[in-house]
């Protein structure tokens, strides 16, 4: 996983509440079996007319397509961002598109978890702070923010600054880009001990003997 320490980038405002993962990456793009290449389909139904890539036509009025936000790497949006489906493809699409940070007043749990696994930082600020960033990113050309995970601080060098909270463990993992699975496997002895006490039920062993699978 790509570590996250500090990032400065252009902010794009997505002034909507309850942006669900069906909007972030529509279902027709979930059939890919790779983790990469989802960026071009980000917010597809809001950005393109036409169902498939080859017939796609840019609608043109979506904020992500405005020339001034072309190089944005920080997305600011309304409350409950990432609600709905658990599809990690939503995070892959945001990251692949070039986003490193999403700022909102709240995030759906699964989306926030998925972000953590992919080095995409979700920053929770209060409604007033989000509104202020939204306003500045609309009014100021090339509006940039610096998001500092070590200091848990967001600032724009123009007088706006805010601190945010994150649990210490998640922060540690993001700062160091730690592989979750390897860390869990350090507890091998405890997992094995638990499994010795709680073995697989005898009936489940019959699943493979039955017609399931092979």
């Amino acid at each position: 996983m790509q570590p996250f320490r500090k990032h400065t980038g252009i902010v794009v405002p997505l002034d909507k509440v309850n942006v669900d993962t069906d909007q972030i990456i529509p279902k027709q793009f979930l059939k890919r079996i790779e983790r990469t290449g989802f960026g071009e389909f980000l917010f597809y139904d809001w950005r393109f007319s036409g169902d498939r890539k080859e017939r796609a036509k840019r609608i043109g009025d979506f904020v992500l397509d405005a020339p001034r936000y072309q190089n944005a790497s920080i997305l600011v949006a309304g409350k409950n961002f990432g609600c709905g489906s658990s599809r990690e493809h939503a995070v892959w699409a945001l990251a692949d598109f070039g986003f490193r940070v999403v700022i909102a007043s709240s995030f759906a749990d699964i989306f926030a978890n998925n972000s953590l696994k992919n080095g995409l930082l979700t920053v929770r600020l209060n409604d007033d702070q989000v509104t202020e960033i939204m306003r500045r990113s609309k009014e100021i050309e090339d509006y940039q923010l610096t998001v500092d995970l070590e200091m848990l601080r967001v600032e724009d060098g123009r007088g706006f600054n805010a601190t945010f909270a994150m649990d210490e463990f998640s922060r540690h993992c993001l700062l160091n880009g730690l592989d979750d699975i390897a860390r869990t496997l350090r507890h091998e002895a405890q997992i094995a001990a638990y499994e010795a006490k709680h073995p697989v039920r005898v009936e489940m062993k019959a699943i493979l003997a039955g017609k399931a699978g092979f």
Binding site: V17, A108, L185, K197, V202
Partner: protein
Amino acid sequence: MTYLKRPPAARGLEVKVNSGQDFKDMAPRTLFEKIWDAHVVAAPEGQSVLLYIDLHLVHEVTSPQAFDGLRASGRTVRQPLRTVATVDHNIPTTPRGLPISDPIAAKQIEALQKNCREFGVPLFDMDSAEQGIVHVIGPELGVTLPGMTIVCGDSHTSTHGAFGSLAFGIGTSEVEHVLATQCLPQKKPKTMQIHVTGKLAEGVTAKDLALGIIGRIGTDGATGYVIEYAGDAVRALSMEGRMTLCNMSIEAGARAGLIAPDETTFSYASGRRFAPKGKDCEEAVAYWRTLASDPGAQFDRVIEIDAASLAPFVTWGTNPGMVVPVNGRVPELKSFAQEADRRAAEQALVYMGLNPGMPIESIAVDRVFIGSCTNSRIEDLRAAARVAKGQHVNPKVRAMVVPGSQAIKRAAEEEGLHRIFLDAGFEWRESGCSMCLGMNPDILQPGERCASTSNRNFEGRQGRGGRTHLVSPMMAAAAAIAGHFTDIRNWRFN
């Protein structure tokens, strides 16, 4: 049989009581806390708790990258027999045996078949008599049982909480994590009790209860919480109804929703194909009886709902919280206190092609979908069939019924429900997720309006430009026949 002499836990019963602990001295715990405590493998200082996962359900859409991850790091599936796979999301609901017309979907299904073979994971494949929606077949086969921890790369995993299990949706990175370690690092969520007093009126179902709750607390009302549903109205629900209710927990933002198991649960679970048998079953039930919140257990938040205040609901907007009773009207924009919510409602009405103040019953539908992990079980089909019996689908409406599993399809056909649907002009299809998310060919065309028993009315969810209204199975069947939404409480049943 020598294993019978070993203690119950050694035989693999999900008996999760740590010996040596004196529970009499413990503070009262909620059901959630009991399940959580029984699955803690390690609680390293300053880190998330490592939780053991009893059952991992797998499907074709959110697993290929996870299996690739295992291969890339030379890892295996730690517990193939705690892993159960099926195909549901993108398979066609046309007769089995026909080739899959979408080559990308076919590739994803082939990838799951190959991955299950390579890693030794049991798969209920396309041609299996047990195939079905992953959240339907788990309970049906008796692999979902009370007291378990259950995960799946699908947000509607909350369904399994109906059994008094801790069941929640995860992303693909976590799917890989569970495949490799059978554990998940987890932060402990907060607890919410939703206490539903009284009795649901005739025609008001578990779906309406779920929609009523989401309408009241909002689509983020339970973010960060695990919900325990309690009260007389919840106790009175069948297992099917409880699954519908827990299924929709995620639509209120809760990752999990659960209901303490009781006689209804035990009688549903006992005798299922992979459920414990004989003496094991008795011991299991004895343990399951301990799975209730203790008197005096503290919840972080408690919500009281009066069942009598609920009506059959219809969503009018683009998230499940945008909902009103069927005899109500599309809300006026001025009724929204928050500017952001008002704007969201305005955008939703444009997308939905509705005007503020319109009576819900005046809204005509083009399509009807009865199915999904929310409402595709036998009881749902019986309820819809009762409405459809001796009636005819409105000539302007195309209506389909998609059973949740092959087993449900067979059971419905044995009861003759398919005859009722077919005679009334409904399509009767093969099992799968189908038009709930439109990954297979079952989709809405732009502008089409659908009365759907599924769980999400997000923009484009059932097909780009499609307009989804969430309702109960009875309300969907009635809309198919009337050609518009109609109050099921006034229905003349044949």
